[in-house]
């Protein structure tokens, strides 16, 4: 087994899980799907610099071979932006749940907090 196979198959599995969850009806599942898909996209972007072992892009007089730094810079900001996006979507889902009493992605078709109160206390 090669690292290339591991990364490629991991990306595939994450995408499959992400798509499936994004198509679900609950907002929280959609957020999870988005998170999985983001992992996959970030890994894919990173992989476009190819997989290189033990050659971090830290410049040194004695070193001549480095991994490609550009995908890393792009992915670094992408990770932070992913957090911003996830946070926004989560809060959007929360607000919509608080407004409508339903966590269905299309609004108040299926109210879901009727059995919510009974379980507590």
């Amino acid at each position: 087994m090669t690292y290339e196979f591991l990364v490629a198959s991991a990306i595939g599995v994450l995408v499959a899980g992400g798509i499936f969850l994004l198509l679900r009806a609950r907002t929280f599942q959609v957020v999870l799907g988005l998170t999985l898909l983001s992992y996959a996209v970030n890994l894919f972007l990173f992989a476009s610099g190819r997989l290189v072992l033990n050659r971090p892009p830290i410049w040194d007089k004695t070193v001549t071979e480095y991994t490609d730094p550009l995908p890393q810079a792009l992915v670094l900001t992408a990770i932070v932006i992913t957090f911003g996006m996830t946070a926004f979507v989560v809060i959007l889902a929360l607000r919509s749940f608080l407004e409508t009493g339903s966590d269905h992605v299309d609004g108040d078709k299926v109210p879901s907090d009727e059995n919510d109160g009974e379980k507590g206390a």
């Binding site: 087994m1 090669t2 690292y3 290339e4 196979f5 591991l6 990364v7 198959s9 991991a10 990306i11 595939g12 599995v13 994450l14 798509i19 499936f20 198509l23 679900r24 009806a25 609950r26 957020v31 999870l32 999985l36 970030n42 894919f44 990173f46 992989a47 476009s48 610099g49 190819r50 997989l51 290189v52 072992l53 971090p56 892009p57 830290i58 991994t67 490609d68 730094p69 550009l70 890393q72 670094l76 990770i79 932070v80 957090f83 996006m85 996830t86 946070a87 926004f88 989560v90 809060i91 889902a93 929360l94 608080l98 009493g101 966590d103 992605v105 299309d106 907090d113 919510d116 379980k119």
Partner: protein, 950 residues
């Protein structure tokens, strides 16, 4: 230059007046009308200064470049045609302003009225003086908009609003066609300069674009000038106050189409298509509207249809493509402006003084209001084309030209139809005068009220009627020089020899004219019988048809939108993914479908395979267990950890640090949100739906995995990274190339990213800030603890440990920040680490305790962060370098030794502040909401306990 200044002042004056009037307080009617009148009079004076050279054949012009890349110049030009129309616009404008001052009642919004009127006047002046066809379009649209305001001036009247909307829809739609036509015309003539276009008539007519240009320009002209079948908006525009009708429908708005036809006459006229289309449209409009006018009862409606008919006559004359016919059209424009404005004002006076405009309730008014009767009767006689008035001369000239045009190969068609049109014109003109002022009063009530108005009200129409008389008696003296200059401007050549006189001897025109007058008198005599016959026919209601068409379009558009843009997120996401999957398949097939490349792979170590298996298992668990929401968070963090480890393994220490800290923040966020969301809601999707989605997901995953595999087994192409590696140290002053890319090479990207992050933080704040109110607030107040939790809200061990950890974590954060330029670290990572240190305090000691000790505002931090980053970039510009260029210098201090200061570090500070602010804002706000809900719940339980205690 002086001429140029005059021209610009001329066009700017009404707009300035409009602005001034709009700024004045309401209720100063005299001031409003005074400014409007002064602006009109000032314009007239300026125009008079230009009149002599223009009539002599000069065409003063001025031009200032506006949007040169489009060929759009602020170019103005005044030739004979422009002079005549500008004179009518300003002259009749002045009279209308005076009339309106007396017409409008006290308490009406005179400021809005006169401001709109001046806006309209400026737009009209712009049309007739524009020296650039694109500029002309701008003013053309402005007339549509300002006339909308004027027609709908009485906003409380439904018919006013509907009439305004209809006028805007029809003339605005025509304007759209005109834009297309004018742009194509400019392309065909290789210029948007009007004077240049007018010289290139042959070039335009030879162009393959000519039929399209002709069609589009004609639609624009016909809609504006209310030609059949676009005429229906004009009668409904009569819902406007009468001064507006007098202005818009005598000399201005509706004449804009005629003006444009005349303006472009040298370019468009003369071809077979032009002659046939324009002549027949004008002819049909003239006859049809004249017939309808005979049977209307509302004074303004009669005048509206007569206006349509007279416009048809003008269009027809221009359609003849004959020089003498163009001259007749010019003369009739003058005549029509004079008698029609006078008649509209007279109708306004009658309405004002009797309270009705229904001709069936009026009659015999000559006794009650003799002055108005004299004025209106003379104006109506000019409209009928009776000698010795101006209308007679132009109608004679029209009839004289008709035999020269053989429409559809039938030489008798145009003369016969024109005579029929003239007959009905005589009919409705005579009926207007006869039924209004003569005979016996039909209804005593309005007659009893009727009296002549103040001189200020009848004065303007008297002046116009006098003009109509003089145009008949001394046409050569009064109008010949102007008509000659205008005709020369229209046809683009010296005007033909002409003689304006009442008597030309007995010729065909006189015979036809006599027949028309006699037959018209007959129509009046038998009017009652004809009316009965007319009213027994069922007529199409244009307004209802228009509303129905509008409603139909509205419904169809709604249906189409729902069909294309379904209100279901699930369906839209499904469609999106399905399309992407199909595109990938298509691309793979087109590329040959070879997946595996030749690049040798790296053999994987055993720990790596174990981590990989963990990731696969965790992903499967997330999908499978998605309803057990807290458990899922653990699986998610496993995935995040494996991804971080992968970054460590594959030479990306910066990414690993970022990923692991983002992971912590994300999980904290989801935990806080889940506290308020349902924990384990019931299943929603059906089995078949899951199979369908599962199939799509597996296909998509396989394709993406395949793409990744294909990419990883091939050598990368040429990359710009070599430049980054070579220049990071000498150019950017840092050895951590990733960080140098972020804060230097691609700092503009980073600036954009932190702005996006800041916006996301602020949006989250806004979403949560409002959640305490309304339905959301009520639901928050009803929130119940639904998770088993420790009896101690803030365990002592956690509190103490987190307080000790705070300074340590802060130190780590600062260290990561400072070394970021050279070693893994930097603003992004440091901000996340510091944020985690503070969030730990919230977690351990609670929101309230932490919030009280918090000494910074997240909003300000986001703002300062973006500002600092921007200032760094702009600082580079001060030194003449491009935006965001970084600089660095080495310094040495005793004890510390040699160290480096780079401007990039300042930029990184901006990154730090923004990221920290956004993360803290999102999580602190969320925990505050959660805290509030928990507090409400605790208070409720305490109250319950107290109740049950005694």
């Amino acid at each position: 230059m002086a001429t140029g200044l005059t021209l610009y002042t001329l066009v700017a004056l009404p707009f300035l007046a409009a602005l001034l009037i709009a700024l004045l307080p309401a209720g100063s009617r005299g001031l409003h009308s005074g400014i409007a009148a002064a602006a009109s009079a000032g314009g007239l004076a300026l125009l008079a200064g230009l009149a002599a050279p223009v009539i002599g054949g000069a065409a003063p012009s001025a031009s200032v470049s506006w949007v040169p890349s489009l060929g759009l110049d602020l170019a103005l030009m005044v030739d004979g045609l422009g002079l005549m129309f500008a004179g009518l616009i300003l002259g009749i404008g002045l009279l209308v302003v005076i009339f309106a001052h007396f017409y409008l009642h006290k308490g009406e919004a005179t400021g809005r009225f006169f401001a709109s009127l001046m806006l309209f006047q400026g737009a009209m002046l712009g049309i007739v003086l524009a020296g650039n066809v694109l500029l002309l379009l701008v003013f053309w649209e402005l007339t549509s908009l300002s006339s909308f305001l004027l027609i709908g001036f009485w906003q409380h009247k439904a018919e006013g609003r509907q009439g305004a909307r209809m006028a805007l829809a029809v003339t605005g739609g025509g304007g759209l066609a005109l834009i297309g036509g004018m742009v194509l015309l400019g392309l065909a003539a290789d210029s948007f300069d009007l004077a240049t276009i007018l010289e290139r008539g042959a070039q335009v007519q030879a162009s393959p674009l000519y039929p399209v240009i002709l069609g589009l320009v004609l639609v624009g002209c016909f809609t504006k000038s209310a030609q059949f079948p676009f005429h229906f908006w004009l009668p409904h525009a009569m819902a406007a106050p009468t001064p507006v009708s007098a202005y818009l429908h005598s000399a201005t708005m509706v004449k804009a189409g005629v003006f444009l036809l005349a303006r472009l006459w040298p370019v468009l006229a003369g071809t077979e298509a032009y002659t046939v289309i324009v002549t027949s449209v004008g002819l049909v409009t003239m006859v049809f509207a004249a017939v309808v006018a005979l049977f209307r009862h509302d004074l303004k409606s009669i005048l509206a249809y007569s206006t349509i008919s007279q416009l048809g006559l003008l269009v027809m004359l221009l359609g003849f493509s004959l020089e003498m016919a163009a001259l007749a059209a010019v003369l009739h424009i003058l005549n029509h402006a004079a008698f029609k404005a006078a008649l509209f004002m007279a109708a306004g006076i009658v309405d004002h003084e009797t309270g009705t405009r229904d001709i069936r309730r009026l009659g015999g008014l000559a006794k009650a209001m003799p002055v108005t009767a004299v004025i209106a009767t003379i104006a109506a006689a000019s409209m009928a084309g009776l000698p010795p008035l101006g209308g007679f001369i132009s109608k004679e000239m029209m009839l004289y030209e008709t035999p020269h045009v053989a429409l559809f190969g039938l030489p008798w068609l145009v003369p016969v139809l024109a005579t029929i049109g003239a007959t009905f014109s005589v009919g409705y003109s005579l009926r207007l005068a006869a039924h209004l002022f003569f005979g016996a009063p039909r209804d005593p009530e309005p007659f009893a009220r009727a009296h002549d108005p103040a001189a200020g009200m009848w004065g303007p129409s008297a002046l116009l009627t006098a003009l109509a008389v003089l145009l008949g008696l001394v046409p050569m003296l009064l109008a010949a020089p102007l008509v000659g200059a205008v005709t020369a401007a229209v046809i683009g050549a010296p005007a033909p020899e002409f003689d304006l006189a009442l008597w030309h001897g007995v010729n065909l025109a006189l015979i036809l004219s006599t027949i028309a007058v006699a037959a018209g008198a007959l129509l009046l005599w038998r009017h009652a019988a004809l009316l009965g016959a007319w009213e027994s026919i069922r007529h199409l209601d244009a307004k209802r048809m228009f509303e129905a068409a509008l409603g139909y379009a509205d419904t169809r558009v709604r249906k189409a939108m729902v069909a294309v843009h379904t209100p279901s997120l699930q369906r839209m996401v499904l469609a999106t993914f399905a399309v992407i999957v199909l595109l990938i398949i298509e691309g793979a097939v087109a590329g040959g479908g070879v997946v595996t490349g030749t690049r040798p792979g790296l053999p994987a170590s055993t720990p790596a395979i174990i981590a990989w298996a963990l990731l696969i298992a965790a992903t499967a668990a997330v999908v499978n267990d998605a309803r057990q929401r807290f458990r899922v968070l653990i699986y998610i963090s496993v995935i995040g950890l494996v991804v971080s480890l992968a970054f460590v393994r594959f030479s990306a220490p910066d990414l690993a640090l970022t990923q692991i800290s983002v992971e912590v923040v994300t999980i904290l966020l989801l935990l806080l949100a889940l506290n308020l969301l349902p924990k384990a809601p019931p299943m929603l999707s059906s089995a078949s739906r899951k199979w369908r989605d599962g199939a799509l997901a597996v296909t998509g995953g396989a394709l993406m995995g395949g793409i990744s595999w294909a990419m990883l087994t091939r050598e990368p192409g040429a990359s710009i990274s070599a430049y980054h590696l070579a220049n990071a140290k000498p150019g950017g002053g840092g050895t951590n190339v990733v960080n140098v890319i972020l804060v230097d090479f691609r700092a503009f990207d980073t600036l954009g990213e932190i702005i996006v992050l800041g916006i996301a933080g602020l949006a989250i704040f806004a979403l949560l800030e409002g959640a305490a109110r309304g339905a959301a607030g009520a639901r928050l107040a009803r929130w119940q603890e639904d998770m088993p939790h420790s009896p101690e809200r803030h365990p002592m061990m956690l509190v103490m440990a987190s307080r000790i950890a705070l300074p340590l974590t802060l130190t780590v954060g600062i260290y990561l920040f400072l070394r970021g330029h050279n070693q893994p670290g930097g603003g992004f990572i440091a901000a996340l680490v510091v944020a985690i240190a503070f969030l730990l305090q919230y977690l351990a000691a609670g929101h309230d305790w932490t919030d009280r000790r918090r000494r910074f505002g997240e909003h300000q931090m986001i703002a300062w962060g973006v500002l600092v980053a921007m200032a760094t970039g702009l600082g580079a510009m001060v030194f003449g370098a491009p935006f965001l260029t970084s600089t660095f210098e080495y310094f040495s201090l005793p004890l510390i030794g040699k160290f480096e200061l780079a401007s990039a570090m300042l930029f990184d500070t901006g990154v730090f502040l923004t990221v920290f602010g956004a993360v803290m804002l999102a999580l602190a706000q969320l925990s505050q909401i959660a805290q509030r809900a928990a507090r409400a719940h605790a208070a409720q339980r305490a109250a319950e306990a107290q109740e049950s205690a005694p």
